[in-house]
Each structure stands twice: as structure tokens, then as C-alpha cells.
Amino acid sequence: MQLKKLDAVSFEEVIYDNCEACLVVFSRKSCHVCQEIISIIEDLLEKYEGKLGFYYIDVEQNKDLYKRFSLRGVPQILFFYGGEYKGKLVGQVEEEDVEAKIVEIL
């Protein structure tokens, strides 16, 4: 299963209008670590489907968004709950770290 892609408009809708509990991976196609992180997260998708939204943003196409969150590199996994930013995980993280964070916000 795959992550759903967001752009600036759908990002607003999902996070702030629908207040969806979700994680958003900021990544770049040419980033090797990003691809590893995405495949780790795809493995978690099935388990948390229905409870948590799984999204990604291509930073190349959405400069304003990474600037808004003052991001300084990819991959970064940002967590949101009830329209609020709940923290992030940075760089080459393990599946356990991601899952622990998911459990924490839900």
C-alpha cells in the first residue's frame, strides 16, 4: 500500500479543515534515505488504516510548506492530531520509532 500525495491545497484541507490525525512524510524523489523511510511507513499503513492518515509531500514541488515548518532536510515525518502539529521524526529512523510516535499521538 502506498502513501497519498499531498500538495499545498490538500495539505490545508487534511490537516486544518478536516483535522485528520495523520503523519506526513516530507521527502524528495532523489533522496535514498527518504525512499527507505517511505517503505518503512508503507509497512505500517495497513495496521493503522482508518485510525491515522498516511501522506507524503514532495519538497521539490512545495517549497512554501517546508519553509513554513522550517525544515532543514529530508526525510522528515511530521505528525498532526486535531489540527495541531504534534512533533516530527528526522532522518534515518527505525520502524519502532515511527510506531512509538504513532501510538503516542493516537
Binding site: 524528495r28 532523489s30 533522496c31 535514498h32 534515505v33 527518504c34 525512499q35 527507505e36 521539490e60
Partner: protein
């Protein structure tokens, strides 16, 4: 738990692993590649490849997608998963993945590649992704009009540093050596020296990355004077070499050098029979796509011959109803050929009591090794795969008759 048996399993889907996969697929041996993340390895993050023959200019992802497609088209299976444990203690190698799958293989090629070295200085880990970075392709863009420090002076450090100048207002390279000395190639050094945005701090090393939530500076130590100073910056890119991604192999009995790289011979054989290492994770001089591909080809052909020997052995030798005489010879050793003729003569005179199997030791090395045979001629008498005895191989008909 799902279990699947393969002839050849390749761990790692970079240039070495995918080349092995192409050779394995074409040799019609049942081949599986296990790779975590996206196929392509470290080269996936490379913007430009200009030295792979036949591709004057290509990008890492584009070149690797052709490798991958090629491997798939010749019938190799590729899966996304991470190997967490291996058992190389028996002839049938066992590989366990993070998703709980278990695979067995007759031969394994380790093509796990490398990852950037972490210096483990204060602040480095804590500020990773908040100013500390290891990949310019991935992260340079986040430092538009800012000051970036680059640590290292090898090809990668200088070339990536130059790339960062496209975004950053200033790039300062921290170099261990005396003024004017860089570890990189000459062309890159000249380009770097003539780039206005590139600055150098000589004879120095980095002690600490500073900043509470984001990087706001680095502490640098001058190795000649011993004086430490601070330099304000918003980003730090580390290019201080790589370490092999072979951590999961630590209890496998595999030999490493002191840096964790796997030593191999010309055939890419490791110290464990049936286990090969190819590409960046082995001890080698040049780590490039072209040399990784070369390794991958060698390892796959060596593995294929090894598998063929195993299959041959199992089918013919262990499956025989009558005792087997395993005759080791070398085509260039006349005495071994002569003894072979004598053995056949004697065996046919005493009737159909033995099956003679000739093993050319110059190509079927692993069978010879299994029985500790170092010189030819040599004969091992086997019954249902069990060693009964070694024969004395002097060219003497009477002596041979007595032994049989």
C-alpha cells in the same frame, strides 16, 4: 512463517546486487534480491553519473532504473524487505527478514553497500535534519542564502560542496591538511579554488555542532595551534567517508577487516563457502558503479558454478545405490589422467561394484575442498555419501586391486 527456497539470494539492490541479479536470472538459477528501500543503492542520491561506459551522462535514479528493469526482465525476483538475521553455518543458508519471512539459498551474495560515516561529535546526532546533513542532493536546497559548513576534502566533499553553492550564500570547507591540500581529484580542486562562494579553513577539525533546535554554528579546532574557535553557520554537511552496512552480519562467522569491510578473493568468495561479497561492502580500491557491476558479475558467475557443483554432487554422488569412487584429476597433470585410466580398468575387471565419478579439480573446487583434497590424483571411496576411505594412488595395478 512463509518459507521459500532459492538457488541464489542477493542482499542489496544497488549496482552490484542488480548486476548479480541479471547474471543469475540469465543463468536460469532461481534468484531473489532483497533490498530495503528503493532499488539503486547509494548511487540513487547521485545527480550525475558521467563515467559509466555507454552512458555519457545520466542521473543515479535513471541509470539504476535501467539496471532494475534489466534484472526483472530476465526473471529475477526482487522484493522490498530488510534482512535482520542470517545463518551461514550450514550448506543451506537461512535468511530472515524484518517482515518475518524466512528464505533459504544455496548461495548468498552480500551487496549491502555503505552508508555515510557519522563522526559522533557532540550535537551531530541531536541536530540531524535540523541543519546536520549527509546528502547534498537531498538537503542543499534547504539552505538557500545561508552559510553552510562542509566537513571533509575528498571527491564527495568538494563536489557536493560546489553543488551546495548553488543554493547557499557561502560554503566553508573544514580541511585537515595544510593550506592548498585537498584529498579530491585535481579538476574538482581547481574548480573549488576558483569558486567565489567556496572558503577553506585549513589544518582544522570540527569538535562540536552548536545550536539548540537548529544548527547555529560549529566549534572548530586548529590542529597546529590547538586553538578552538566558533564559526556561525546554519548548516553542516558531513562527508567524512563511509562505513559498510554489514552490521546485521556480525554473528554470522564472516570475516571482516578492522573497518567492517569484507575481504574476498578474485572470485568474490568470502571465508564462508557459498557466501560472496560484491560492491562497496567489500575490501577494494575503487568504489564506483562500474566496479560494483564488475564485482556483481564475478560473484554471480562464481556462485552459479558453486551451485552447479552442489546440484551435481547431490544428484550423482549421494544418489548412487552402489559405492562411489570419487576420482580427482586435473587435465594438465598427466599422472592424474593415467591413474584415471588404470582405475577404470581395474573397476571394470571386478564388475559393476563401483560407480566412478571424475572430478576436475581445476573447476570443481568446492568438492575437492569438502574432502580436503589438495593434490591429484586422489580417490575417495564413498557409500551413500559417507567417506569409507581414501585410496593410495600410486600407479600400481596390484595395489589398487587390493584396495578395492
Amino acid at each position: 512463517m512463509m518459507s521459500s527456497n532459492y538457488d541464489l539470494i542477493i542482499i542489496g539492490g544497488g549496482p552490484a546486487g542488480l548486476t548479480s541479479a541479471i547474471y543469475g536470472g540469465r543463468a536460469k538459477i532461481k534468484t531473489l534480491v532483497i533490498n530495503k528501500g528503493s532499488f539503486g543503492g547509494l548511487i540513487y542520491s547521485t545527480r550525475e553519473i558521467v563515467n559509466y561506459p555507454g552512458h555519457e551522462k545520466d542521473s543515479g535514479p535513471a541509470l539504476m532504473s535501467t539496471f532494475k528493469k534489466h534484472a526483472e526482465n530476465v526473471g529475477t525476483e526482487l522484493i522490498k524487505d530488510e534482512v535482520v538475521e542470517v545463518d551461514f553455518s550450514r550448506r543451506e543458508k537461512i535468511i530472515t527478514t524484518k517482515n518475518g519471512r524466512e528464505f533459504t539459498a544455496k548461495a548468498v551474495i552480500l551487496a549491502c553497500g555503505t552508508q555515510p560515516r557519522v563522526l559522533n561529535i557532540p550535537g551531530e546526532k541531536r541536530l540531524r535534519g535540523n541543519g546536520v546533513a549527509y546528502c547534498a542532493t537531498c538537503d542543499a536546497e534547504f539552505f538557500e542564502d545561508e552559510h553552510v559548513v562542509v566537513v571533509g576534502s575528498g571527491d564527495q566533499a568538494i563536489e557536493e560542496g560546489m553543488y551546495i553553492t548553488k543554493f547557499a550564500s557561502k560554503v566553508t570547507v573544514i580541511v585537515l591538511h595544510d593550506e592548498g591540500i585537498l584529498d579530491c581529484n585535481k579538476i574538482s580542486a581547481e574548480k573549488a579554488f576558483s569558486n567565489e562562494k567556496m572558503n577553506f579553513v585549513w589544518n582544522s577539525t570540527i569538535e562540536e555542532v552548536l545550536g539548540e533546535f537548529n544548527v547555529d554554528g560549529v566549534q572548530i579546532k586548529n590542529l597546529k595551534t590547538g586553538v578552538s574557535s566558533q564559526l556561525a553557520c546554519q548548516g553542516v554537511f558531513f562527508f567524512v567517508g563511509t562505513v559498510p552496512s554489514t552490521g546485521f552480519l556480525k554473528d554470522s562467522g564472516l570475516q571482516y577487516n578492522q573497518n567492517g569491510y569484507i575481504p574476498v578473493n578474485d572470485l568474490m568468495e568470502t571465508n564462508i563457502e557459498g557466501v560472496y561479497a560484491a560492491g562497496d561492502n567489500r575490501v577494494k580500491y575503487l568504489r564506483q558503479v562500474v566496479s560494483a557491476a564488475g564485482d556483481g558479475a564475478t560473484a554471480a558467475v562464481a556462485a552459479e558454478r558453486y551451485i552447479e557443483e552442489l546440484n551435481y554432487f547431490q544428484k550423482i554422488i549421494l544418489g548412487s545405490n552402489i559405492p562411489v569412487l570419487l576420482l580427482f584429476f586435473k587435465p594438465l597433470v598427466a599422472e592424474s589422467l593415467q591413474f584415471g585410466t588404470l582405475l577404470e580398468e581395474v573397476a571394470s575387471e571386478i564388475g559393476e561394484r563401483y560407480k566412478i565419478i571424475k572430478v576436475d579439480m581445476s573447476t570443481k573446487k568446492s568438492i575437492a575442498e569438502k574432502y580436503g583434497i589438495k593434490e591429484v590424483p586422489a580417490v575417495v571411496l564413498l557409500n551413500k555419501g559417507e567417506v569409507i576411505k581414501l585410496l593410495d594412488c600410486s600407479i600400481d595395478k596390484e595395489s589398487l586391486n587390493l584396495q578395492l
